[in-house]
């Protein structure tokens, strides 16, 4: 399997007054063609920022993004336009990510117009084809977003992301605003599209049961850093980092007979502004030792299973 995207030492800091907010701090990963990387973590852990930095919707502070073997860390405007044909994003909130003054077909057609090279008739045919692909009936062609429900709106967002036939899509919590019955429809659609078109996804979410379902690999983020990464089955079967363990135990399971023991974490997520060196999970961790104040090294105890915790073997 060919490597599609490689991210090296990616950092994104925001200036907050005189201080630095470490939103994304030294993230590394490799994503193969047609695969899905799930990114999980609490709100504020930098998962959305990571997706946006990779797509250059935000400028990066440091590090490298390599797409199809080409360094696209600091693209020119022309390169950026070409890049966007291959990399797209589906936004979290189908209520605010669509222009309320554009009809369904206008929204989906816009990327085609910007790309150029197609006649009006071809563009309309392509738009209708895209609508059919994502399961939107043709009668909605001239509808406006406010006339549609959340599931259908999210389908518009997906159709628009697909318009330029990208190879890689960042899905930023695409189903978290939807009801479970509709959520399942959208997840199945994303899986079908991946099979048909060989798409690679970076699937950002806080819903762990969804991420297990859709991902090949899962990366767990805490305060801008990667604390653990492994294949989906491995991570759920054998979590190593104390944060991953707590996170997995906190998922409410719709089963009344199999009640698991919850690990209730103390306290709240600490501030990402000028974080001190050492493990950022320290204040909430029940296994804390003096070594935790040292910077944590990413270790690989099993092949392709990474963990950043100095005590993982003892707990």
């Amino acid at each position: 399997m060919a490597v599609l995207l490689e991210v090296r030492n990616l950092k994104k800091y925001f200036k907050v007054g005189a201080a630095q907010l470490h939103a994304v701090d030294d993230i590394n990963f490799v994503l193969d063609e047609g695969k899905t990387l799930g990114v999980v973590g609490e709100s504020g852990c930098g998962k959305t920022t990571l997706g946006r930095v990779i797509l250059h919707l935000l400028d990066l502070t440091d590090g490298q993004v390599i797409f199809e073997g080409k360094d696209c860390t600091s693209p020119t405007k022309k390169e950026l336009i070409e890049m966007r044909e291959d990399m797209q994003i589906i936004f979290q909130d189908p209520y605010s990510s669509l222009n309320p003054r554009m009809s369904v077909s206008e929204t989906i057609m816009e990327p085609l117009i910007l790309q150029g090279g197609m006649t009006k008739i071809e563009m309309r045919a392509e738009t209708l084809h895209l609508m059919e692909t994502v399961g939107l009936a043709q009668r909605f062609e001239n509808s406006y977003p406010h006339e549609l429900d959340g599931g259908r709106r999210q389908r518009i967002g997906i159709a628009r992301a697909l318009a330029l036939k990208p190879k890689f899509i960042v899905c930023d919590e695409p189903v978290s605003a939807l009801d479970v019955s509709i959520q399942a429809q959208i997840i199945n659609l994303l899986l079908d599209l991946q099979e048909e078109r060989g798409l690679a996804y970076m699937f950002v979410t806080h819903d762990l049961s969804v991420v297990k379902y859709i991902s090949d690999d899962i990366m767990v983020m805490y305060l801008g850093q990667m604390v653990e990464k492994a294949s989906s089955d491995e991570l759920f079967a054998k979590p190593l980092h104390p944060y991953t363990k707590a996170l997995l135990s906190a998922i409410p399971v719709p089963n009344i007979h199999n009640k698991k023991k919850r690990i209730i974490m103390q306290g709240e997520i600490t501030s990402p502004i000028n974080p001190r060196p050492g493990c950022r999970f320290m204040d909430r961790c029940q296994y804390v030792t003096p070594e935790c104040s040292e910077p944590q090294v990413l270790e690989e105890p099993d092949s392709d299973h990474f963990v950043a915790c100095c005590n993982f073997s003892k707990i």
């Binding site: 762990l208 996170l247 906190a250 409410p252 209730i264």
Partner: protein
């Protein structure tokens, strides 16, 4: 029954706009016993929040209109009470936790004061006593009392939700209406809040109506479950009934559409289609259009409620319900 603290009979609520009538709640029957936690489960727009707001009579009328039914709380008819009597009950005997902690607090009042205000309104206490009690409530929900004088924006989402819970519990309510209290929170914080609510329920003996769309949360803290669809309760029973023997096709569909942590299946099984338009509800079963088991008879008239086993009621023609 004597220990029914809340009894809702045939409640019908509509929203009227200039050009349409939205049938939000269509004949709901619900009883809540002392110490019971009942989960109201259903999709967005199913009418769950409208039910809760009807109990407190805090729906804006108009556009909302009560078209029928009774709500009895401790043997008294809530619909017949004067506004003054209602005010005494709200926040005292019946309290509500609102869905969004970011908007449920007053941004320009100190959080401690907001809790003390509720205590001062319903109890004959001095200001200092109310403040003391408010500090106790903060401690109880795990917030240090020295943050009494802080403002909501200085708190994180999870802490704000805990302030809202502290406020709701400040007067030891008999009935707590929790409208998606953890939906806006992260799973780890959700686990903390649910654990706390569970403890409080055990120590104070409060009955809870838990509105949620998360069946995992229901499995965690509810005793009984009512599944709401298009303004009707389509299935009601204990958690064991609903989770082990779900009977209504909609309930079964809900369970099937959840991604399961232990499943290896390649695709989820969503419920096809959408909820019917509440301005134009079908004549027969409201789930008819989306139901995989529907027969022609289902479209003709609404099904009656039948009891499939003691305490387990289903509103479906195919499960023995007659037309």
């Amino acid at each position: 029954m004597a220990d029914n603290i809340l009894e809702i009979r045939d409640l019908v609520v509509e929203y009227r706009t200039d050009d349409a009538v939205i049938h939000a709640v269509n004949g709901i029957n619900l009883t809540v016993q002392k110490g019971e936690t009942i989960g109201l489960v259903g999709e967005t727009g199913a009418g769950k929040t409208t039910i809760a707001r009807s109990i407190l009579r805090i729906l804006q009328t108009p556009p909302a209109k009560f078209c029928g039914g009774t709500i009895m709380f401790e043997g008294q008819d809530i619909m017949a009470m004067t506004e003054q009597q209602m005010r005494k009950i709200r926040g005292d005997k019946i309290a509500m936790i609102f869905q969004d902690p970011m908007t449920a607090l007053n941004p320009i009042e100190r959080v401690g004061y907001q809790i003390a205000e509720a205590i001062g309104l319903h109890n004959k206490v001095t200001r200092a006593e109310a403040e003391m009690k408010a500090c106790d409530m903060l401690e109880m929900v795990g917030i240090p009392a020295d943050r009494y004088k802080e403002f909501p924006h200085q708190f994180s989402g999870g802490m704000k939700q805990r302030v809202v819970i502290a406020m709701a519990l400040a007067c030891n309510p008999i009935l707590l209406l929790a409208d998606e209290p953890t939906t806006a929170l992260d799973v780890t914080i959700q686990a903390q809040v649910l654990e706390m609510m569970q403890n409080l329920k055990e120590t104070l003996g409060t009955s809870v109506v838990m509105i949620t769309h998360d069946l995992g949360v229901v499995a965690d803290i509810c005793n009984t479950v009512a599944v709401v669809y298009a303004g009707e309760i389509v299935e009601r029973g204990t958690v064991e009934h609903i989770f082990d023997y779900p009977s209504h096709p909609y309930t079964i569909g809900l369970f099937n559409s959840l991604p399961k942590l232990d499943s290896t299946e390649a695709r989820l099984k969503p419920i096809t289609g959408l909820m019917p338009d509440p301005t134009n509800l079908p004549l027969g079963c409201k789930f008819y259009e989306r139901c995989p088991e529907a027969t022609d008879k289902c479209a003709e008239a609404p099904p009656e409620v039948t009891e499939v086993s003691p305490g387990h009621q289903v509103k479906c023609l195919l499960k023995g319900g007659s037309v």
